[in-house]
Each structure stands twice: as structure tokens, then as C-alpha cells.
């Protein structure tokens, strides 16, 4: 049998195998492939993506097998590269056979080269028993032995089994656990983790092969050189560092069908962990987490904001500002991967798509009853409609959500359509899609709330007391809104800031001529004492048909008054009632530089708004002027018409 012809997209050189080799290899391959397809994968689409019609060996058993050959990890790396699995992203029969041949070569002492496989070689030797189950588990003695050599190994191994509960691992390697526990957030440690991590077969029966897949995928996917096991372990470990002492029950290995992007697959442990985290934020697993809540939570991971923003973009498939459970898991997984040094993908990997996640980790993990009821009630929504996206966005525009469930975002469906994996998504996913759509429908209604409340919450959560919220439209125009804002901030300003005198900040030393104006204004800050007349003045200025110059001095005065402004508002919030104009000496007391900055920024914004309003006013007046001109011209015409009559 010509191996080259066998593999769908094999890229290695044509192999000629002797009969015994043939037999041995095909047996091994069958085992590896068989082991991989044992699990309840999401179904045909994924398999078809890989190699239509060809079996592929899952990375897990393959990696184990390679490790069992007891070759040094660098050699295994080389072999993996040479055999072409790295290139094509999976182990087809061709790649597998080439790899086995290279292993044989290496074991015979030949250099790992393409040419080596051309010669007659003994069969490769593998230390482990070859049965399906045992292949994973291997010889503990060997593994332990290997483990000792590399101090991080056991820790990695441990972190694997760790499941967020670091105590669990200890059974076999308690002494070595500590090194890992201490530097949880140092990816460089993991860099040195070698392939032999795979040896850490401390996984007992319930082990996931996840690290193993990570391993082989690692050289394929990540040229960094860190062990595949490492990254696989890292995410788990990362979770531990993120949140300690979280016990997650072990699950059977996730034997989904072959995927070339193993690092992005979520294991059962991780899944459980994420679900529990989700529950901690939002008790109902079938509901969703609002944007602000999620933002605070993910900010704890200490990734940079642009990265978090990008992760959100990737994971919030329906772009509604909230995360359902699958979206949350995807986001969490991406964060974990990122923290462990993985570069973020260009697009959401198929294993992290919400439909996939829902299908792959079905209701047993979640409240199945709720889902069942949803899927029953939502059969009609199975039709993915990315044109609903347009509807949705137009709905978004209006900020009005009639929201029949069909109109609900189908962002995940849109994503589904975008990603190849989901196009042939099987009907059994449709049900989950319906369920997810229903989640989306749930989301749609409160969406506007979450969206609009985000900005308020953000400012409130900034820890400090920004005097005003982010720029709000028409803030200075509508009396109601400004009033509301003040009311909003009154209760929210913490008492700490109210160490200031109850009386709101008084007039700054420069009295403004138009002190009466704010009164006439009455719009802005009625609750603020007259003291912020300076502040109020700048805004009232907009209504007053003053030209630019008056606002300028106001602006200049504004700067030094930032502090007073700020303390004004906070004090006003505290004080409540409009107070008499009493000089307020305290601004300096409470000053933090960031508050100052915020105050300045607010002032700048206000000025800009004032500018805009004035400009608008200007244009309106010019319009009026034009009209008046036209009237005048009309009148003149009339006059002329009349005049000739008389003249003539």
C-alpha cells in the first residue's frame, strides 16, 4: 500500500513500508484514530473539515505514542515537523506513518531526516502498552522517572489534574507541586516544559487528553517552542492562579472529533470551571452576563484593555454587549490562553463557537430543564437568519426592541455562517441554536438597559468620583437629563468624598458678572449651589447669544475651578440642596491627581459642547439672517414693481 496515496493531504515523501511495518503502523494508526473518535464529538462537520473520508489520528493518542517511544522531546518535535503534521495540522495516515518511520530511525540512532525513512528500519519501539486505554496512561514508573528530571514537569502535570484545586494533584507528586504553585503567572516557566510532560500520566482514568493534544498541536500551531503540554497545562494552571481553591469534578476526556486547533478546545475541567465562574456572576446559567459585569470580571485578569476588547469582540458572537454561557466560556478560555502566551487568533476558533460549545457540552453541564423547555418553545427560531442581523441593527438604531424572538440577534448564527465548521452544522445543533437564540432573545430586551447603564456604571466603578459621567448627548440642553444626572450622582458619591464640608463649594475667588444668569438658566445644576455659577455659567453661555469671547474667559476661569467644580458636584451630591454661595476652601483637601484630570477632561468636554451649541446657534442665526435677507429682497422687488407703475 502506498502510504502517500492513502492520506488525504499528506505532504511527506512517499513511503515504502515493509509488510511488518505496514501492519504495525496501520495497527497503531487504527488505535490512535479509534481512540480519538470514541467520544461524542460534535459530529460530522468537524471531521469533514479535517480530511474528508480519511481517518486521522487524534493528537492525544499520537502524542502519547510518540512519547512512549522514549525519544527526547526535541527529536519528537523534529519528527512531528518532518512528517508534515505540522503543515497540515493533523495526523493523517501519511503523516503518521512517516512519523513512525522517523521514530524507528531515531531509535536506531539515525538522524531524523527525511532520507532516514528510505532505508530499512526495525519497527519503532514503544514503551507503553498499546491498548487504547493504556496508551493514555502509560507506565507510571517511567513517567515518574521522567518527571524527576524536569522539575516543572510534575508541576505541569499537577496543574493538569489540578482542576483549579491544586490540592488534588498532590497524590503523586506533592513535593514538586510547590515550584509551580509559586510562580503561577510566569509563562516563561512553561516555555521550558518539554514534550516529556506528556509523560505526566498522572492522569488517572478520568484524565483528559487535553494536554496531549496540546502537545502535538503546539509544535504545529505555535512556533514558540513551548511544549504542547505546557500550554495545555497552562490554561488550567492559569485558572488556578486566577481563582484559587476551586474544585471541579473531573470529567471523562473530551473525545470530540479531530480538530486542528487543540489549544482552543475547552476541556471538561475547564468547562466546569468556567461554568462555576459564570454562576458566581450570574446564578442562572441560561441567562447572560451584562457587559459591565463581565468587564469588571475580566479586567481582573490583568490583560490590557485592547486585548480584552479584542477578546470580547471574538467571543461576543452576537454583539449584543452581553455574554451567554458559551460566549463566556469562550471568552474565558481566550483570556486563559492569552495569559499563557498564546497569541490571540484572528477569528474565533471553531471549538469556541457558541454552537459548538453548546453542542459539545450539552445540557448535562447546565440546567437541562431550562434548556429543554427553551428548545421546545423555540423550534421556529432554528432558521438562522443573518438578515435578522440587519433587522436587529436597525432595531438597535431605534433603541427600540420590539423583539419578537426571531428578530433577536443571530450574531452567533452569523458567525456560524462565517465559519466553515458551522455551515454544515448538523441538525442536532439546531436545537441548541434555538436554545441559544432564546438566550439571545432574553438578552435582547435588557440589552438596551445594559448598554446604556454601562457608561454610568463604568464611571461609578472607576473608583474615584468623577464629577460627571462620560459625555452625554444633550446634557446641557435638557433640563431633565441634567437633573437626573445630578440625582444619580448624589447617592452614588461615596461618603468618603463627602469629608468635604457639607456646603457645596462656593464661588471661586473670581466672581462672574453673570451670576444671575444661572438662575435664569435654571436648567443646569439647579441643585448645585450657586457657587458653581462659574461652572453653570459656561453652560448657560450656550443659550445666551454671546459670542465666543465671553466663553473664553469662562473657560480660563474654569481650569482653576476644576477642583472647585469637582468638589462642588461631589459636595452637592452630598449636600443635596442648593446652598448659599459659600466659599469652599476644601478642594485641595480631597484632591487626587486623577480626579483633577477627570475634572479637567470634563471641563474640556463641557466647553466643547458649549462650542458646539454655540456653533449651532450661529448657524441657526445665519439661517434666519438668510431668510430675512430673502424677505427683504422680496419686499424690494415688490417695491420696484410698484414704483415703475407710478413712474410710468
Amino acid at each position: 500500500m502506498e502510504v502517500a496515496a492513502g492520506g488525504g493531504c499528506g505532504a511527506g515523501p512517499p513511503l515504502l513500508l515493509s509488510d511488518s511495518e505496514q501492519q504495525c503502523y496501520s495497527e497503531l494508526f487504527a488505535r490512535c484514530a479509534g481512540a480519538s473518535s470514541g467520544g461524542p464529538g460534535p459530529g460530522p462537520p468537524e471531521a469533514t473539515r479535517v480530511a474528508p473520508g480519511t481517518a486521522t489520528a487524534a493528537a492525544g493518542p499520537v502524542a502519547d505514542l510518540f512519547r512512549a517511544s522514549q525519544l527526547p522531546p526535541e527529536t519528537l518535535h523534529q519528527i512531528t515537523e518532518l512528517c508534515g503534521a505540522k503543515r497540515v495540522g493533523y495526523f493523517g495516515p501519511t503523516q503518521f506513518y512517516i512519523a513512525l518511520k522517523l521514530i524507528a530511525a531515531a531509535q536506531s540512532g539515525l538522524p531524523v531526516r527525511t532520507e532516514s525513512i528510505k532505508c530499512e528500519l526495525p519497527l519503532p519501539r514503544f514503551g507503553m502498552a498499546k491498548s487504547d486505554g493504556e496508551m493514555r496512561f502509560g507506565n507510571p514508573a517511567e513517567l515518574h522517572g521522567k518527571k524527576v528530571q524536569i522539575p516543572y514537569l510534575p508541576t505541569e502535570k499537577n496543574s493538569l489534574k489540578r482542576m483549579d484545586d491544586e490540592d488534588k494533584q498532590q497524590e503523586s507528586q506533592s513535593p514538586t507541586m510547590s515550584p509551580l504553585a509559586s510562580p503561577p503567572s510566569s509563562p516563561p516557566h512553561y516555555q521550558r516544559v518539554s514534550l516529556s510532560h506528556g509523560y505526566s500520566k498522572l492522569r488517572s482514568g478520568t484524565e483528559q487528553m487535553h494536554p496531549a493534544p496540546y502537545e502535538t498541536r503546539q509544535p504545529i500551531g505555535q512556533p514558540e517552542g513551548s511544549s504542547s503540554e505546557g500550554p495545555g497545562v497552562k490554561p488550567l494552571h492559569r485558572q488556578a492562579s486566577l481563582i484559587r481553591s476551586f474544585s471541579v469534578e473531573r470529567e471523562l476526556q473530551d473525545n470530540n472529533s479531530n480538530y486542528p486547533d487543540e489549544p482552543w478546545r475547552i476541556t471538561e475541567e475547564q468547562r466546569e470551571y468556567y461554568v462555576n465562574q459564570f454562576r458566581s456572576l450570574q446564578p442562572d446559567p441560561s441567562s447572560f452576563i451584562s457587559g459591565s459585569v463581565a468587564k469588571n470580571f475580566f479586567t481582573k485578569s490583568k490583560l490590557s484593555i485592547p486585548e480584552l476588547s479584542y477578546i470580547w469582540e471574538l467571543s461576543d458572537a452576537d454583539c449584543d454587549g452581553a455574554l451567554t454561557l458559551p460566549e463566556f466560556c469562550a471568552a474565558f478560555h481566550l483570556i486563559v490562553a492569552r495569559k499563557n502566551g498564546y497569541p490571540l487568533p484572528e477569528g474565533l476558533p471553531p471549538t469556541l463557537q457558541p454552537e459548538y460549545l453548546q453542542a459539545a457540552f450539552p445540557k448535562s453541564k447546565w440546567e437541562c430543564t431550562i434548556f429543554d423547555s427553551y428548545s421546545e418553545s423555540m423550534p421556529a427560531n432554528q432558521q438562522p437568519c443573518d438578515l435578522n442581523r440587519m433587522e436587529k441593527t436597525s432595531v438597535k438604531d431605534m433603541a427600540d426592541f420590539p423583539v419578537p424572538t426571531q428578530d433577536v440577534t443571530t450574531g452567533d448564527d452569523k458567525q456560524a455562517l462565517n465559519s466553515t465548521a458551522n455551515e454544515p452544522s448538523p441538525k442536532d445543533v439546531a436545537e441548541d441554536t434555538a436554545a441559544s437564540k432564546d438566550c439571545n432573545s432574553l438578552k435582547a430586551r435588557p440589552r438596551s438597559r445594559s448598554y446604556s447603564s454601562t457608561s454610568i456604571e463604568e464611571t461609578m466603578k472607576r473608583g474615584e468620583n468623577p464629577p460627571t459621567p462620560p459625555p452625554r448627548p444633550q446634557k446641557t440642553h435638557s433640563r431633565a437629563s441634567s437633573l437626573d444626572l445630578n440625582k444619580v450622582f448624589q447617592p452614588s458619591v461615596p461618603a468618603a468624598n463627602s469629608g468635604l464640608l457639607p456646603p457645596p463649594p462656593a464661588l471661586p475667588p473670581r466672581p462672574c458678572p453673570t451670576q444671575s444668569e444661572p438662575v435664569s438658566e435654571a436648567d443646569l445644576h439647579p441643585q448645585l449651589n450657586r457657587a458653581p455659577s462659574q461652572a453653570a455659567e459656561s453652560s448657560p453661555k450656550k443659550d445666551a447669544p454671546h459670542a465666543q469671547p465671553p466663553s473664553k474667559p469662562i473657560r480660563r476661569k474654569f481650569r482653576p475651578e476644576n477642583q472647585t467644580m469637582e468638589s462642588q458636584e461631589s459636595a452637592a451630591a452630598v449636600g443635596g440642596a442648593a446652598s448659599a454661595a459659600m466659599v469652599k476652601p476644601h478642594p485641595t483637601v480631597q484632591k487626587q491627581s486623577s480626579k483633577q484630570k477627570k475634572a479637567i477632561q470634563t471641563a474640556i468636554r463641557k466647553n466643547k459642547e458649549a462650542n458646539a451649541v454655540l456653533a449651532r446657534l450661529n448657524s441657526e442665526l445665519q439661517q434666519q439672517l438668510k431668510e430675512v435677507h430673502q424677505e427683504r429682497i422680496a419686499l424690494e422687488n415688490q417695491l420696484e414693481q410698484l414704483r415703475p407703475v407710478t413712474v410710468l
Binding site: S309, D316, C319, E346, T393, D397, S455, P471, R605, E620
Partner: protein, 139 residues
């Protein structure tokens, strides 16, 4: 085919501006900047009473000999300005409208991201991709 696309915040500073790199970008920046006046004119021309009924699409703002500038305003006074090459066989109005609609949708998605602070520059990759697709495709 759009030559330059810009998103301007309510306060008239750019949140996002991108032009085809081959041209002198400064020229486009100027054009966008000057078009803001026209946008404001059109907005204010409606008057405050009609603000709800005001159409978002403003249409052709002004033509130059080489380019045409189209405008679009959202209800939150965020403006989208698009500069289009005149030499293109005239793009139909509908196509321009659909391009603006896509822009608006992507902009809304950017806003939905809780990590995006309104008023920041837009740095979303999805938005970039969408804009790129609009700029290179020939409508």
C-alpha cells in the same frame, strides 16, 4: 469605491479615519474636516423640532472635481463621512446608503463592547476589516 472613510464623534474629533494609503492622506483629512461644516449645516437646517424625523443619511455633501463626499449622522451625533472617487462610474445612492448602513452596524458593534469607552479611538479589528472591505471593493 470609497477612498476615505471617517467616523467623527459628536464633539467633532475623529474617532476613526482611514484612507487608501496611496494617496496623500492629509488631503483627505482636510476634506473630511471641511465637510463637517456642511454636515452641521444640514443638521441644523432641519431644526430642532424635526430632529426625530431627520434622516440619518445626508447624501452628497459636496463634490469636488475628483471626489464626492457623502455624509451620514447618527442619532447620537456621530458622523460618518465617506469620500468617494468621482471617476468611478457614479455609485448609486443606494449603494452609498448601504455602505453607511454597514458602517453604522459595525459602529454599533464596537459600542457594544464594554471595553470600549465612548470617545476613544476605534481600534476594533472587526471594524477595520469591514472598512477595508468597503474600501477595496468596487461597489
Amino acid at each position: 469605491m470609497a477612498v476615505c472613510i471617517a467616523v467623527i464623534a459628536k464633539e467633532n474629533y475623529p474617532l476613526y479615519i482611514r484612507s487608501t494609503p496611496t494617496e496623500n492622506e492629509l488631503k483627505f483629512h482636510y476634506m473630511v474636516h471641511t465637510s463637517l461644516d456642511v454636515v452641521d449645516e444640514k443638521i441644523s437646517a432641519m431644526g430642532k423640532a424635526l430632529v426625530d424625523q431627520r434622516e440619518l443619511y445626508l447624501g452628497l455633501l459636496y463634490p469636488t472635481e475628483d471626489y464626492k463626499v457623502y455624509g451620514y449622522v447618527t442619532n447620537s451625533k456621530v458622523k460618518f463621512v465617506m469620500v468617494v472617487d468621482s471617476s468611478n462610474t457614479a455609485l448609486r445612492d443606494n449603494e452609498i446608503r448601504s455602505m453607511f448602513r454597514k458602517l453604522h452596524n459595525s459602529y454599533t458593534d464596537v459600542m457594544c463592547n464594554p471595553f470600549y469607552n465612548p470617545g476613544d479611538r476605534i481600534q476594533s479589528r472587526a471594524f477595520d476589516n469591514m472598512v477595508t472591505s468597503m474600501m477595496i471593493q468596487v461597489c
